[in-house]
C-alpha cells in the first residue's frame, strides 16, 4: 500500500437534486485492482462517474494521476489516460465492434496511425476477435458488455473505471475477465464497482465498501474476509468469508454512524 496514490479524493460530496449521493468521502487508490462494494444506491456509480470526469461534484477535491479535475486543462490530460465503462452505455447500433471501439479511440485521441492496431488489440483482449466485424445490434448482452470493456481499454489507460463490468457475463467469461483485470492491474489503477463478491475475491487486491455515501470499510480483501470471523462450517470458502466480512463491516458502520435511517433499514431485515 505504499505505492503512490493515483486517485486522491478528499471531502467529495455529490448531490442529485436534493438527495446526497456521496457525503464528504475521502478515498485514495494506487496501482492495482480495487473493488468498490456496497448496497444498491450507496453511491458507487456516483463515485465512478465523478472519477470518470463525466459528472461534477458539488464539493470536494479530486486528483487523478497527479492532476486536478477542476482545471479544464488538466482534465484534458486526465481524459487521455482514462478508461471508463459506464453501467449503461449507448452505442450506435449499426456500428461494428471495430467501428464502435474506433469511435471511442477517436474520442480519446489515440493517434490515428496507432488506432487500428489498438482497436484490434483491445477487442482481442476481451475475447471478441471473432466478432470484430459484427454489428453491435447483433451481439448478445454479454458480448456488448465485452465490447464496452474493449472501448474502455483501447487507449491503454492508467486509470480504468468499470461500473458493474461482469453483469451479463457467463461464468466462463467472468473467469477470463478476472484474469484480464489482474493483468491490467499490474500497470494501471483499476476501480471495479460490483455486486459480486466472487469478483472481489478473485481479482481485487483491496476493497472499499461504501454505504449511504460514506466509506464503511477500507482494507485488503483478506482483511475484509477476516472481519467475518471464523466459520463453524468446515466447507466454508473464501467467497463466503468475504460475504460475512461484507455484512459485518456494513453492520459495524451502521452502528458507528447510528443514523435513524440506517437503523430503520436494519430493523426491516
Amino acid at each position: 500500500m505504499n505505492k503512490p496514490a493515483t486517485v486522491a479524493v478528499t471531502g467529495l460530496t455529490v448531490r442529485h437534486r436534493r438527495t446526497v449521493a456521496l457525503d464528504a468521502l475521502d478515498l485514495s487508490l494506487s496501482r492495482g485492482v480495487h473493488g468498490l462494494l456496497g448496497p444498491n444506491g450507496a453511491g458507487k456509480t456516483s463515485l465512478i462517474r465523478v472519477l470518470a470526469t463525466v459528472a461534477a461534484p458539488a464539493s470536494g477535491r479530486v486528483e487523478l494521476l497527479g492532476e486536478d479535475v477542476a482545471s479544464p486543462r488538466e482534465r484534458t490530460g486526465i481524459r487521455r489516460r482514462l478508461g471508463y465503462l459506464p453501467q449503461e452505455f449507448g452505442y450506435y447500433p449499426a456500428f461494428t465492434v471495430r467501428e464502435f471501439v474506433a469511435y471511442v479511440a477517436w474520442l480519446k485521441e489515440v493517434p490515428a496511425n496507432r488506432a487500428p492496431a489498438a482497436v484490434e488489440r483491445a477487442v482481442e483482449r476481451v475475447g471478441l476477435a471473432d466478432r470484430i466485424d459484427a454489428r453491435m445490434k447483433t451481439l448478445s448482452g454479454g458480448m456488448v458488455r465485452r465490447a464496452g470493456i474493449a472501448q474502455a481499454i483501447v487507449n491503454e489507460p492508467e486509470l480504468l473505471l468499470l461500473d458493474e463490468p461482469t453483469a451479463g457475463l457467463d461464468p466462463e467469461q467472468r473467469v477470463d475477465f478476472r484474469a484480464l483485470l489482474r493483468e491490467l492491474g499490474k500497470e494501471a489503477t483499476v476501480a471495479v464497482s460490483t455486486h459480486l463478491v466472487e469478483d472481489v475475491a478473485a481479482a481485487c487486491t483491496d476493497v472499499a465498501l461504501i454505504e449511504a455515501g460514506r466509506l464503511a470499510f477500507r482494507g485488503t480483501t483478506a482483511e475484509l474476509a477476516a472481519l467475518g470471523g471464523e466459520s463453524a462450517d468446515p466447507g466454508d470458502t473464501t467467497t463466503n468469508a468475504i460475504e460475512r466480512g461484507y455484512t459485518a463491516a456494513l453492520r459495524a458502520h451502521r452502528e458507528r454512524s447510528g443514523s435513524g435511517a440506517a437503523r430503520a433499514k436494519e430493523a426491516l431485515r
Binding site: 479544464p72 481524459r79 487521455r80 482514462l82 469511435y103 479511440a105 477517436w106 474520442l107
Partner: protein, 204 residues
C-alpha cells in the same frame, strides 16, 4: 482497413440521412413553389406555406441529427465538444439556407428567397434550443407548434406587433422579423454549443 474517424462521427449522428432529407426538402419546396404559382387564381404570394414548411422540415432534419446515441461515452472525450457542436449545427444550416434560397426564385419582396433564408435560420435556432431543452429526437416539436399557431393566428398586415411574434409569416424584407430570426439563431446555437442535446432517459 481504413477507418476515417470523422465518418464514424457523421454516421453515428445519422448525418447522411439528414443531408439526403435536406436535398429532398429543397426539391419538394422548389416543385411546390412552382406549382402554387402556376395555379390559376394564385400569384407568388401563395408561396407562404412553402417558406414555412420547407425551412421547418430542414430544421427538423438538422435538429434530429443532433441526437447522440452514446451520450455517456461522449462525455469522456478529450477535446471540448463545443467546436464540433457548432460545426455540426452550422454547416448543414448553411447548406439548407443555400438550397432553400434556390428553391424559391424570383419575387424576393413576397415569400421568396429572403423569407426562406430568414425562416431557415430562425427555425434552426429554435430547433437547436429545443434539442438542448427537450432532447434532439423531439426537437422539431416546439418549432412545429409555434409555426402552426402563427400560421393560424398571424394577420396578413403587420399590425399589433405581428411583425415581431409572427416573424416567420412575414413576406420578406422587414427588419423586425429578421431581428427575431437572428436572435433565435444566436440563442439556439449558443445554448446547443454550450450544453449539447439533452439526454433523455429511455432513448437508445
Amino acid at each position: 482497413m481504413k477507418l476515417p474517424p470523422l465518418s464514424l462521427y457523421l454516421r453515428s449522428r445519422g448525418l447522411p440521412g439528414a443531408l439526403a432529407a435536406l436535398f429532398g426538402t429543397a426539391a419538394a419546396a422548389a416543385w411546390a413553389a412552382q406549382w402554387l404559382v402556376s395555379l390559376p387564381d394564385f400569384d407568388h404570394t401563395a408561396r407562404l406555406p412553402v417558406v414555412l414548411l420547407g425551412p421547418l422540415l430542414a430544421a427538423g432534419a438538422i435538429g434530429t441529427s443532433l441526437h447522440t446515441p452514446s451520450d455517456e461515452l461522449d462525455r469522456t472525450a478529450v477535446r471540448p465538444w463545443w467546436p464540433r457542436r457548432l460545426t455540426h449545427l452550422l454547416a448543414p444550416t448553411a447548406l439548407a439556407v443555400a438550397l432553400l434560397a434556390l428553391a424559391v426564385p424570383g419575387h424576393s419582396e413576397a415569400f421568396g428567397a429572403p423569407a426562406a433564408v430568414r425562416n431557415t435560420l430562425g427555425l434552426v435556432g429554435m430547433t437547436a434550443a429545443a434539442a438542448t431543452l427537450v432532447g434532439a429526437r423531439l426537437s422539431w416539436l416546439p418549432p412545429t407548434f409555434y409555426l402552426g399557431v402563427v400560421y393560424l393566428a398571424a394577420p396578413s398586415d403587420a399590425g399589433g406587433g405581428a411583425v415581431w411574434w409572427g416573424w416567420a409569416t412575414r413576406p420578406g424584407p422587414e427588419g423586425e422579423a429578421w431581428t427575431v430570426a437572428a436572435l433565435c439563431l444566436a440563442a439556439g446555437t449558443a445554448l446547443y454549443a454550450w450544453r449539447g442535446a439533452r439526454h433523455v432517459t429511455g432513448e437508445a
